[in-house]
Subunit: 185 residues, 2 copies
């Protein structure tokens, strides 16, 4: 292994995530990604086969739900919203949920990826916390609210002045709580 191909690959993936999260798929050029990684654009084709495949590789998301076993049952919704805020407030500009939200608008692969995450990860979490009864519907409802929050903040650009974190955690936490436990019609 000469001149560390592994490290170069990883740097390309990291640059790709950052770029895609800022500008989406089409507005990001392979030249930008390569420049950010300090490397030649041709390597993207050598290592990944092309822009599409690099994207697919760069986007494998793990929502990393926190351990909710110690959380009071009537505070789970709030804890979840808090979890996402902490995730987003961090300076991880390459947060994968952000990448996907921005990219899904014009890229079917990304949209499909989000559907998968909903079905698997959110569905699992709901089942564990609230039982399997209509877990899919509950997960979808929660998704509409959490995706909407992320979209409003990071795509539309709503600021803390519009939705203060404290207010959001309280109110949207209450919403998630309802979607988890309230009776569905």
């Amino acid at each position: 292994m000469a001149r560390d191909a592994q490290a170069t690959r990883e740097r390309l993936v990291a640059s790709a995530r950052k770029a895609f999260s800022e500008r989406g798929f089409e507005r990001t050029t392979v030249r930008e990604i390569a420049a950010e990684a300090g490397v030649n654009p041709a390597l993207i084709n050598r290592y990944f086969g092309g822009k599409e495949q690099l994207f697919a590789e760069a986007v494998s998301i793990d929502l990393a739900f926190p351990d909710l076993s110690g959380v009071a049952r009537d505070r789970i919704g709030h804890a979840l919203v808090e979890h996402f805020f902490r995730r987003w407030e961090g300076d991880a500009q390459d947060d994968l949920l952000r990448v996907l939200i921005r990219t899904a608008a014009t890229n079917d692969e990304a949209a499909s990826r989000i559907r998968g995450v909903l079905a698997e990860q959110v569905g699992m979490m709901v089942t564990r916390v609230a039982g399997p009864d209509r877990a899919r519907e509950r997960a979808s409802l929660i998704a509409t609210q959490i995706l909407g929050l992320a979209y409003a903040r990071y795509v539309i650009g709503l600021s803390d002045g519009d939705v203060a974190p404290q207010t959001a955690i309280a109110m949207i936490g209450g919403t998630v709580q309802r979607y988890l436990f309230d009776a569905l019609p």
Copy 2:
């Protein structure tokens, strides 16, 4: 006025809306728009000055909130969600909210347009229905939920199987109701 330039303009705007709502800004080409309108691509530049300006002209949105004066105070949230569902279930493939949601992901003009709509139209509606007290925060909270619903259905592609309209109207209506009237922290 020979050979009806006005009608051609309008056909171009209509084609543009449809294309932008399906594929977003960057993935839509002026040649597609012109072909759909049955006209030469050069006319886009003649009439609008370019793709950017056509987009700006194609996207002027009016949420057209229904008259809520006859609705019981505890059913306003549900009425609003029902309003949006009716709007979307119709075959208006060129619905402007859909255009904006998809395009805002990579187009600042569209994102800014949505911010304006929130501040003006949703803010006004909230003020009229619930009074001016913290109307901006309430409007933003409502926006996160409604945008998220639209995003989940039309970008991610969640189906009626994931979020049945009936369930959504009941549960999300209740959420909007809370964001309108519940005490904020």
